[in-house]
Amino acid sequence: MASAVIKRPFYLRPPWNILFDFHKLEKLTPWNVNIAYLLSSFLEEMERSGQVDFRASGVALDSSALIYLMKSKLLLKLEEPPPPPKPPQDFLPPPLFLPLRHELTSTTIKHLLEVLDDVLRGEKLINLEKAVAEPILPTPSEILPQLDAFLVEIELQMERLYSYLSEKVKGTGIIEFSTLIKDAVRLDVIRTFILLLFLAQEGKVSLWQNEETEEIYVTIGELKIAESGKANS
């Protein structure tokens, strides 16, 4: 009997046993557990009895963490937004019954003409507004969206053109504008030229024109200079 009592560690007795019985732990109401008391008395008892067991301490710590978690989950649950307010209750009378009655109405053709006057005046106004507002040239908004998209993407387009050029001029180090825009539509020719100007402004390409043939030559020769310049600075 006595040996059986000694074998059974103290922490399997109440109140500490709840920390070591996982089935009980899941079912209990966390608010009913005073963790601070349990842990401090557990330590005191362990010190007093001399049964120092680190595994038991670990389990006790784990269980109390779990109880804390349960408590905080409950707290969060309590703080969930309240359900939407129910519509206010009020006595809702039954629908009124509308008996069918014939009723002569007072509107005559004269009334129709009186209000027509007003409407026709409105009609004239509408026509007038339309005549004035009729645009002769396409509005800027009809051109701008395309231009906007082009401008927004200009950085990207410059990069693309630049890598295209880098590949093209590998051998000779130079390319004619006419070769660059071969088979391109007018709008793309313009776009390419604008992009070249931007690249030249940034010093990534150099452009020069043959005054007789009007051919424009493009090189990326200056790039190295620019880069080395940057590296030096």
Binding site: P87, P88, D90, F91, L92, P93, P94, P95, L96, F97, L98, P99, L100, R101, H102, E103, L104
Partner: protein
């Protein structure tokens, strides 16, 4: 048209103190004409003015004869006496579902009628309150009720206040005085609840 001419000749010749059959017929027809064109309950004063008499008793006698003729005839129409000696010519309720598709004006379905009931019962009431209690769909009901002239909206500060119109009161033969009207309405609803109980 010929009939009409004959009648007026007869009338002109009849002595005033002894009401002839034609004269009675004429008075009954006048009251019928008044009730038919008005399409709403008429009170004794209005009916007196149609008969060009000041005697309410005389008018009441005639209108009661007319109402009983209608009742005896047992057709689709009826003349009802409402509270405060008001009289109305209308279709018997049982015929409403059979012919309502021929009516040339928007008829209210149950939803808008409920909204109307509620506004009438609680008026003056803010539009917001009506929406809170009945739901967002009542905006369309309120629009319809305003278009039909049954409800009027007034701005009061930042909110819209709804009340029933005079036409509404006339249509149902209710008092124009708000307190009285509400009492009358409460009775209507009580009667309705009783009938519901009986029929269920």
């Amino acid at each position: 048209m010929q009939r009409a001419e004959k009648q007026t000749v007869d009338l002109a010749g009849s002595p005033p103190e002894k009401p002839s059959t034609e004269r009675i017929q004429r008075n009954l027809a006048l009251l019928e004409a008044a009730l038919y064109v008005a399409g709403r309950p008429l009170d004794l004063n209005e009916l007196c003015s149609v008969l060009k008499t000041r005697s309410k008793n005389k008018t009441k006698k005639f209108i009661k004869i007319l109402a009983s003729e209608y009742a005896d005839r047992n057709t689709a129409l009826e003349i009802l006496e409402l509270k405060d000696e008001r009289y109305v010519l209308q279709l018997k309720a049982e015929y409403t579902p059979l012919v309502k598709r021929l009516v040339n004006r928007p008829l209210l379905s149950t939803g808008p009628l409920k909204t109307l009931s509620y506004i009438a019962y609680r008026q003056p009431i803010s539009q917001k309150r009506v929406v809170d209690v009945r739901g967002h769909h009542v905006y369309s009901h309120i629009k319809l009720l305003k278009e039909m002239g049954l409800v009027v909206a007034e701005r009061s500060g930042r909110s819209l206040v709804l009340r029933t119109s005079e036409y509404f009161a006339d249509y149902f033969g209710l008092s124009h005085d708000l307190a009285t009207m509400k009492r009358e309405l409460a009775n209507v609803f009580k009667d309705f609840a009783k009938q519901e109980k009986l029929s269920s």
